[in-house]
Symmetry: C2
Subunit: 324 residues, 2 copies
């Protein structure tokens, strides 16, 4: 069994090997830049860890795992254009550092490159891995579309929000695990149990994100607390609050949401106080813990030695109890 650190080393050295030195530089340099920005490499890591549950040799999963990571970074690149985000991981986004056309086209090229890595799959698994990948990639696009639509909508239900984050965040983590499992030679039900584990962890991870943005500690969180509140982002906290509120509370919350910019601290304090009144922090923690328990149950169902699953449990715990 490989430790997570050994696995991350494998991934990073493989990413470092990808040469984006071809011409035209204007197309490939932004790809190299994007992949150099780093990130936790969680998706390829869990792919290799899932493979490692069933096979000592993780080599067959490396290229497809990198393909998933390239695809993930492609979605960030194009999402940043759509969200007009200036920074990503503390660095200028591609459309800021270059321009929008460059960001569109380099992203398109990254999606093709992702498929080229995915295609480096043993022939016997190629069709299956390709189908998992395309299905998932399509779902991620659907998630992004819902996310953009929700911004323009008056209200979003908790159920709609959960479905959106499943598509936008959870399915790619789940597909990473399933792909790794398939390439390790797992039986269909084990691959599916790992997929379900991934969905649950992905959901819990996003709910933790929502919690930290409002209730995190600014010192460890690294970003300013209350960013979601300031842009009226329809998070689990806000959608839950709007569902739990009675008529009076809803009116109060709606008027807090309309506090204009310039009065940031006031808006954050007021919205948070309505959240507290409605106990949405606890509701979010409950939902998160419930996904986390379900994740652990799904992992328990995977038919391999219990101690082999320890690394995945540790990773899940880390993702869940992180403070940044």
């Amino acid at each position: 069994m490989k430790t997570i650190n050994e696995i991350l080393q494998l991934i990073n050295s493989e990413i470092d090997k990808t040469a984006w030195t071809k011409e035209p530089r204007g197309l490939y340099e932004p790809i190299a830049y994007t992949l150099r920005l780093g990130g936790k490499r969680i998706r390829p890591a869990v792919a290799l860890m899932a493979c490692n549950l069933f096979s000592e040799d993780v080599q067959p999963a490396i290229k497809p795992a990198i393909g998933i990571e390239i695809f993930h970074n492609f979605t960030l690149l194009h999402d940043d254009i759509m969200d007009k985000a200036d920074l990503r991981r503390g660095q200028p986004t591609v459309h800021k550092k270059w321009d929008e056309n460059t960001a569109i086209l380099s992203g398109d090229m990254m999606q093709i490159a992702a498929y080229q890595f995915i295609a480096e799959t043993k022939a016997e698994y190629l069709k299956q891995v390709l189908d998992i990948f395309s299905q998932t990639a399509g779902e991620v696009c659907e998630g992004q579309q819902y996310d953009m639509e929700f911004e323009k909508r008056e209200t979003v239900s908790v159920a709609e929000y959960l479905d959106m984050i499943r598509l936008k965040t959870a399915v790619l983590l789940a597909a990473s695990l399933k792909t790794g499992a398939v390439l390790g030679g797992a039986k269909a039900e084990d691959a599916q149990a790992l997929y379900d584990f991934g969905i649950d962890i992905g959901m819990a991870f996003q709910l933790k994100d929502d919690l930290l943005d409002t209730y995190g500690d600014e010192k460890t969180f690294g970003k300013k607390i209350g960013g979601d509140i300031l842009c009226n982002k329809k998070t689990y906290l806000l959608t839950t609050a709007l569902e739990k509120a009675d008529a009076v509370q809803r009116e109060k919350l709606q008027s807090c949401l309309q506090i204009p910019s310039g009065r940031e601290e006031e808006k954050i304090t007021f919205v948070t106080s309505v959240y507290d009144e409605l106990n949405v922090k606890v509701a979010c923690e409950d939902a998160m813990n419930s996904y986390y328990s379900s994740a652990m149950a799904n992992l328990d169902n995977v038919q391999v030695d219990n101690d082999k699953k320890q690394e995945l449990r540790i990773l899940a715990k880390k993702l869940m109890f992180r403070e940044d």
Copy 2:
């Protein structure tokens, strides 16, 4: 053997079958719209025709051929954003009819859908077809990148221009033919000869485009003559003129290129007169005819009954001697 009309019918009925009726509508409706805009369907048509050279049954090539057509339409969609084009085939472009974010994301989804169709390939050919497709798709992005870079450059050599149109236009036609041939069971050298035929036809096709834009007949061409001249597009005509010109002629041409908008007719007349002085129309026709001859020689080299190749010859001739 199927006639080209039978083949186009197969393709169009298959495209009509693709239901883009899923949710979210905001993601899938622009895809349906784009594919409904039509177009000549040349790429899937030649894919099936190439398959038909080697196999009576073209069924195995239909889905991959549609995948290529979806990819082609995706490139038009994203190119239209980058070029800020308002119209495509006489209809508003997706980023005009909806908005830019919709155009980016629907395009991304189309690229995934293209791969899903490509993946509907017999297992024995899957890896090969996938590799041809990804390689080609990457080259098309490279071509678009060069095209955008050339717009900002002072000069572009004829050789650079030819390489750009090879990437942006010819390789996808060539890959369509090769893919069809592979799926029909062609030998490697025949698939390659058809690829080379496709490159030549693609090059000749683009040179014909350049010719029509300046020397076409407005009545049959359908667009205004001189559009390329008005936007100083670095076509075969302009790059050749700049290479053939002596110092005096180059200065004259450069000053014609700087005639400001508002004096459209004057600019078109003056630039065309320099072209005529330098005989670039003939140079372009010569280059086109040379590609066309080379295409025919490559087609002759394909080891199948001569009369089977007749439909491809007719199509090539039509593309070459078209007036629109």
